[in-house]
Amino acid sequence: MYLALARMGFQRQLAYRTANLAGLATNSFFGLLRAYVLIALYGARPSVAGYSLPAAITYTALSQALIAYIAIWSWWDIIRTFRTGEIATDLSRPCDYFRYWFAQDVGRAAAQLLLRGLPLIALYAVFYRIVIPATLLQVLALLFSLALALLVSFSWRFLVSLAGFWVGDATGVGRMAWTVATFLSGQIMPLAMFPAWATGVLRATPWAAMINTPVEVYLGLVRGPHLLAALAVQAAWAIALIAFGRLLLRAGVGHLAVQGG
């Protein structure tokens, strides 16, 4: 059944063809602007904070390509159901509430990766000399890291959306949460380029696990034991956020029942 839900989520994205095309154009344009800025910032420097110039340019492609995949902004699917009252139906479905949404999100994310992620990288490859993962191990690590990134991102969005149990309309909470995630995930600038004291802290957060980690895995900036550690941090956040989300869900459902009297 969860497979059917995932397929549904996938097909829903295919229906919005022009929106996907426009999204791809917008992501590419923003990526391009960031690339110009980084090229200007680098000037004559060959490498900054471990990023060579081609790696930095590839970073601008990846950070844009992942936006739609992990839905870092404007994910209102659950928040909306509090307003429409669908939350009550969804909760009483004969399946696990978390998995019900996660299955759909996997479908959504897969479609976005195919429609907006890969074409963007391909487009970049035409205009720039971008970095491509060199070894099979790197590709496997990347796939693993991408899967974990989605798991962390979904659990985080799930957690934020549950605020709806207490505040009713969680749009404001969501808006603030998505902004924080954008900034802390390394979507705006590579976390490695922040002042040294900040980089260490930022790398360990769940938000870094959404964009910064898969990007660094792709670029081969983390290797060997560091690669394992990076993946372990992602996995740890996935487990922690899922556990917390489930706890909060239980508390929220109790709260909702009281309200409904």
């Binding site: 000037g43 404001g172 808006r175 600038m189």
Partner: protein, 268 residues
């Protein structure tokens, strides 16, 4: 005069209705301010490592950024009715068809139908960055510069407002808002926040000669910061901001009239 009074009255209604939910409004405001400030801080933190962008110091880039943010936020509030996302809803729900029946100018009705006060958060952020930039860049103020600053600000508002207006007009044909306009509006704010000479020729030409974006931000900024044009174009270009802003508004208005004449309704 009568239409101005009407406009102020209707906008007053919008503002008062948003103030009904004071707590929600204030958290929204704080959230926007915080979100935008954090984005700027993260850019500034990275810039500090590099020292300069294409020969411009942080304070000088912040001047561009602050100016664009203030102008765009003001526009986003005043032109809320022409936000393509909002306007397409007016068309879809048939509310625009009702407006066609009222004996009041259409732009006035659209502009007064929505006034998103929340944008003040973004404006405040832009203002803080701008004031900081003025200190950091060490601008040599003259009376002429002080007089020209509000003109440039108004031109930025007019420029982005025209883009919103044009984007909304396309809804007459497409009903759904065209996301492509975002490249020029939100993409424009991003692009104009950096000195134009870091971009390739085609991009710079597009945003100078096809869409006069650099005339309302970059060239005036050269004058305020006392910098020469790296391409050696005449200094007079710095003073074309109001011309560019007005031309864009006229163009948008003409396109809008054309669109209204061809609008057939959506059947709602």
């Amino acid at each position: 005069m009568r239409s101005l009074r009407l406009y102020l009255r209707l906008v007053g209604v919008c503002v008062r209705s948003q103030m009904q939910y004071k707590a929600s409004f204030l958290t929204d405001l704080a959230g926007t301010l915080f979100g935008n400030a954090i984005t700027f801080l993260s850019l500034a933190a990275v810039f500090a490592r590099f020292g300069s962008v294409g020969g411009w110091r942080l304070g000088e880039v912040a001047f561009l950024y602050g100016l664009v943010e203030m102008g765009f936020a003001t526009m986003d509030m005043v032109f809320s009715g022409y936000d393509p996302g909002y306007f397409s809803q007016l068309v879809r729900r048939g509310q625009f068809d009702q407006m066609l029946l009222r004996p009041v100018a259409l732009p006035l009705q659209v502009l007064s139908s929505e006034f998103t006060l929340r944008r003040l958060g973004r404006f405040a952020q832009g203002l803080i960055v701008f004031l900081l930039a003025v200190r950091l860049a060490g601008i040599h103020w003259t009376v002429a510069k002080l007089l020209y600053l509000p003109v440039v600000f108004g031109s930025v508002v007019a420029f982005f407002g025209s883009l919103f207006w044009i984007g909304s007009t396309t809804c007459f044909w497409t009903v759904e808002a065209l996301e492509a306009i975002n490249i020029f509006t939100y993409g424009g704010t991003e692009m104009l926040a950096y000195p134009m000479h870091i971009y390739d020729d085609w991009l710079r030409y597009l945003f100078t000669y096809v869409i006069p974006a650099s005339l309302v931000v970059y060239y005036p900024a050269l004058y305020f910061l006392g910098k020469p044009d790296p391409f050696g174009l005449p200094r007079a270009l710095s003073f074309l901001a109001p011309v560019a802003g007005a031309a864009m508004l006229l163009l948008a208005n003409a396109f809008w009239r054309f669109g209204v004449r061809h609008y057939q309704g959506t059947g709602t």
